[in-house]
């Protein structure tokens, strides 16, 4: 039988009320479900989970207080084309910085200390053959960011050809990464492409070939 929730859904931190949450039978805990482009920070004993294709998730927590969160993003592809590279800081990098900084700032705002932060990195898979390896680009960005910010990566599972399901418990730092079978590839690619179109400000179904 499914275990019933033992407590009421804990309050979300201000700004995270719109993230979808519910009771997770498998983990006997409340869980927040992230879609591409979202992030979630919590002080509660709850888990955060998401599905990754070529997108990347950084799981960051304060190892002393347990406040932490997860993001889910990728760099826009077309933003880097012209001009931007010459400016030193491309639009793509700015987008990635934004995704990382906002989450870290929210962790710090809620009692985290920079020197206590530990990072775990997941995703960046190349789940469709013969496509530009955008996953690799996302991994390289995240690693660069972490190095420049002098943060510490304590675990990672990135690259390869599999989509992943990542479940993260900021309170303890525990992570479960599950490779997903190829049956799920198309739906994951479709969701990530929709997100990519959104961040590039293009209508869905525009000029990018999915397959």
């Amino acid at each position: 039988m499914a275990a019933a929730p033992t407590t009421r859904l804990p309050l979300a931190l201000p700004g995270f009320e719109q993230i979808k949450r519910g009771w997770n039978i498998a983990y006997d805990a409340y869980s927040a479900r992230l879609n591409p482009g979202e992030y979630y920070v919590t002080k509660n004993d709850e888990c955060i989970y998401t599905t990754l294709g070529s997108c990347i998730s950084a799981c960051i927590r304060d190892r002393a207080t347990g406040v932490g969160g997860m993001n889910h993003f990728m760099l826009p592809v077309s933003a880097d084309d012209q001009g931007a590279k010459a400016a030193g800081l491309s639009l793509a990098t700015r987008y990635g910085n934004y995704a990382m900084e906002h989450m870290i700032n929210d962790i710090l705002k809620n009692g985290g200390r920079r020197e206590n932060l530990e990072v775990k990195l997941f995703g960046g898979g190349q789940i469709i053959a013969n496509m530009t390896d955008v996953g690799k680009r996302n991994i390289e960005f995240a690693r660069d960011y972490i190095r420049i910010e002098r943060l510490q990566v304590t675990a990672e599972d990135v690259g390869d050809i599999y989509p992943r399901m990542v479940v993260y418990f900021p309170a303890t730092g525990k992570v479960r990464v599950k490779r997903l079978r190829s049956l799920h590839n198309n739906i994951i690619v479709e969701q990530e492409n929709k997100y990519l179109h959104d961040i590039e400000g293009k209508p869905v179904g525009g000029d990018i070939e999915l397959f």
Binding site: A26, R33, L183, H184, I187
Partner: protein
């Protein structure tokens, strides 16, 4: 609910049919007046299948010591029943091109099926008392209901897959399908096999590869495909961690007398090395 599945399968009757050469060999095998020479003649009338048959007969799939250069020799070495199995196995991916879908690439679909086929065959050899080549066919066909659902009920099938992802991959696909549609791909595949009048053993393996009822006529064969499906996903995901794949019913191990740890350790590595050649033999172009 049964009528829904029946109608669904009747709907695809014109879109996907059994390979001609398989149907003709089956007819000959059921005819007491026919001979092996008749079967050889029927095979020879299908040049693409002849080529595939000889290629497979000479490959490490069988590992015969000497070259097999004629259909007659292939039939005498492999056996008529097995040649019939191969007539289905080597043509089934082609047959299902009539049922395209946008949810899974045919390449990924048949790769999983082929993994399952190779593993079922290998497990059958270890377990004994069943026909490895028939188990190969059962493994190759186990998910065909999925192609029917993806083509005929794409919105519901898609919703079922979203439900699986939303559950954190905890809800099995077949259970998500039951929640959305009231039946699952195993039942649909079983019904298709039944309408095709495939042997009862294949029908049972396809229909019950996720859940094994206690009343099966072929419990050992079904158990082998049930185990093979789980190991096939472990091979695909390149993992030795059983938790990453669908659970195997304890009953399946005891029915077959196989050792879970040894099966996982040995067979996964074995099929990972043979999958590329098998893809060429069974799914690649005939010429």
């Amino acid at each position: 609910m049964r009528t829904n599945i029946t109608e669904l399968v009747q709907d695809v009757g014109n879109l996907v049919t059994l390979p001609d050469v398989f149907v003709r060999i089956t007819r000959l095998l059921e005819d007491p007046d026919s001979s092996t020479a008749d079967i050889a003649r029927t095979v020879a009338q299908d040049p693409a299948f002849t080529l595939r048959l000889l290629r497979i007969a000479n490959s490490s799939f069988y590992g015969f010591p000497s070259a097999i250069d004629t259909v007659a020799k292939a039939i005498s070495m492999i056996g008529t029943g097995q040649v019939r199995s191969l007539a289905l196995a080597t043509n089934v991916a082609e047959s299902f091109k009539g049922l395209p879908n946008t949810l899974v690439s045919m390449e990924n679909f048949w790769k999983h099926s082929l993994y399952c086929a190779l593993i079922a065959r290998s497990l059958a050899k270890q377990a004994g008392r069943c026909d490895p080549d028939a188990l190969f066919t059962a493994g190759l066909l186990h998910d065909i209901g999925e192609l029917v659902l993806f083509n005929r009920m794409p919105l519901q099938a898609r919703y079922a897959l979203l439900l699986v992802l939303d559950s954190g991959d905890e809800l099995p696909v077949y259970q998500a399908e039951r929640q959305i549609m009231g039946f699952d791909h195993a039942q649909v595949g079983g019904e298709l096999a039944r309408q095709w009048q495939l042997p009862e053993m294949l029908v049972e393996c396809i229909e019950h590869h996720h859940e094994m009822p206690p009343t099966l006529r072929y419990p050992r064969e079904v158990a082998l495909v049930h185990i093979a499906n789980s190991l096939a996903l472990m091979a695909e995901l390149n993992t030795q961690e059983p938790d990453d794949a669908p659970p195997v019913e304890p009953n399946a191990w005891s029915l077959t007398g196989l050792d879970p740890d040894a099966a996982r350790r040995e067979i996964i590595a074995e099929v990972q090395t043979s999958i590329a050649e098998a893809e060429k033999l069974f799914l690649g172009r005939a010429s």
